[in-house]
């Protein structure tokens, strides 16, 4: 079992390479796109617009007494950070085939760089979320600080899932093919477009086994309602996220030495 703190040591020793990979990723994602970094805000805004029409206008669901666009955007921003991190991470090792088969370096810098690139987009869309709060004149209270531990759990989950899918995709490219539908189902199983309150009482214990449920609901409670995250759902989410992180790191470390022999571009 690798010591999870050794990840922090790798990050400290190789932070320049992680940043270099993040910059290359951003450059690659902006290549020949005239709107460049604007895509970081266009994507969540379009998602919000579609959700507003489908969930709020057509399905007429209640949004916890908050204007629906703000309600949705509050979860869309962290959800898109998670889903695009995973979406990019799944093929990140394969797309660095050229480096991996020619030079020996710590492979973990590749998925970490990919996540960091998505994190830049997340910062931009978070600024937009702050602007939305101002636009709607929605107050932010002291309990908004709970968004920090919620985000730490969110980050653990994201890193764990990304490490796992990136290395497993070297062995089984099936993961890459399955990923779009997995992420779509995962989003529908999470309170992104609808409130947790709409989930049936009988279903809730299972519903909260999805760590994104506790994370997104905790985020809304803290930012929108100046309230502490729901202890039960948040603790479940934290426990599962930590387990996923440890498992992801372990799987990555165990498989790392074989990557260069098996990987295909």
């Amino acid at each position: 079992m690798p010591n999870p703190f050794s990840l922090l040591v790798s990050v400290r020793n190789w932070h320049e390479l992680i940043f270099a990979f993040a910059l290359v990723n951003l450059k690659q994602r902006h290549k020949q796109r005239y709107l460049r970094a604007a895509w970081a805000v266009i994507n969540p805004l379009l998602t919000m617009a579609v959700f507003t029409v489908v969930f709020s206008k057509v399905a007429a669901i209640q949004s916890e007494g908050v204007p629906y666009p703000l309600f949705a955007f509050c979860a869309i921003v962290p959800w898109i950070f998670f889903s695009s991190s995973v979406g990019f991470a799944v093929s990140c090792l394969n797309s660095n085939f050229n480096l991996i088969t020619r030079i020996n370096f710590p492979k973990i810098t590749v998925p970490l760089g990919s996540i960091l690139a998505t994190f830049f987009d997340f910062l931009i869309s978070s600024a937009l979320l702050a602007a939305m709060f101002a636009l709607y004149g929605h107050p932010i209270g002291i309990n908004a600080l709970y968004a920090i531990p919620v985000f730490m759990v969110h980050m653990m989950l994201t890193v764990g899932v990304c490490l796992m899918v990136s290395v497993l995709n070297v062995y089984f490219r099936d993961i890459q093919s399955a990923m779009p539908v997995i992420l779509q189902v995962w989003m529908l199983a999470s309170p992104v477009g609808y409130p947790v309150g709409m989930v049936g009482k009988g279903l809730l214990p299972y519903y909260f086994l999805n760590p994104m449920a506790g994370i997104l609901d905790g985020c809304r409670k803290a930012l929108l309602h100046n309230h502490t995250p729901d202890p039960l759902s948040f603790n479940i989410a934290a426990a599962i996220s930590i387990a996923v992180f440890l498992l992801g790191y372990r799987v990555f470390k165990m498989s790392e030495k074989n990557i260069a022999d098996i990987i295909t571009p």
Binding site: V24, K27, K31, N98, T101, R102, I103, N258, A260
Partner: protein
């Protein structure tokens, strides 16, 4: 002081593209033993598919032996088809920073060697152009230049000098003998015995994964 020691080293690869399937193996290296002392320059030659590149990749630590052992003392900079390691969407400037970072060179140290890399490769005018617009020759100049300017104890050079014009090749051989004088260990893979003789005092000949001759 030994720089590299191989002991009964074997390396096999799956023939199938599926890792978890019963498949035949290709034995790229079969019971290879040799050692190289620090400061030696060793040429490696042999027909295509004889295991030269696999040998280099084991020294570089890119891959691990299936059985036997590989011991390496010192920092290895591999130039194994390294022009393939360059990212064609990036400019020469960005490639230099990225590759240096992959080799674990800190930014401060990169700044010191940046000018030398650019001048040696002779690419100052095209520094900020995507390298996919450069010619093959220019790209291998760039990759060779990056590898030889990164501080290393052991340098692996694999078939890189085949491209590049004659004046650049001269420049490369000059640089290699300079590095040899500095006491670096050099492995030089080539099918051209003449260019091996220019650099190396020892030649290892390989055939189907085995060493068939090793000497001056």
């Amino acid at each position: 002081m030994k720089a590299v020691v191989f002991e009964k080293t074997c390396k096999r690869f799956h023939k199938s593209e599926y890792y978890f399937s019963r498949s035949d193996y290709l034995w790229a290296l079969n019971d290879v033993s040799f050692s190289v002392v620090r400061g030696e320059a060793v040429g490696i030659t042999g027909p295509n598919g004889s295991g030269k590149t696999t040998l280099m990749r084991l020294i570089a630590g890119i891959t691990r032996p299936t059985s036997g052992s590989v011991a390496v003392n010192g920092r290895v900079v591999p130039l194994i088809r390294v022009e393939g390691a360059l990212n064609f969407n990036l400019s020469a400037r960005e490639n230099i920073s990225l590759l240096a970072a992959v080799f674990g060179i800190k930014k401060k140290a990169v700044r010191k060697i940046f000018g030398d890399i650019v001048d040696f490769a002779g690419i100052r005018d095209t520094l900020d152009m995507q390298i996919l617009k450069l010619s093959h020759g220019m790209i291998s100049r760039l990759s060779f230049s990056i590898a030889v300017h990164i501080d290393s104890d052991i340098l692996l050079i694999d078939e890189v000098l085949a491209v590049g014009d004659s004046s650049f090749q001269e420049q490369c051989f000059k640089k290699l003998s300079e590095l040899k004088k500095q006491g670096k260990t050099i492995f030089f893979v080539s099918n051209d015995i003449e260019s091996i003789k220019k650099v190396c005092g020892r030649v290892i000949v390989m055939e189907s994964g085995r060493i068939v001759s090793d000497g001056a």
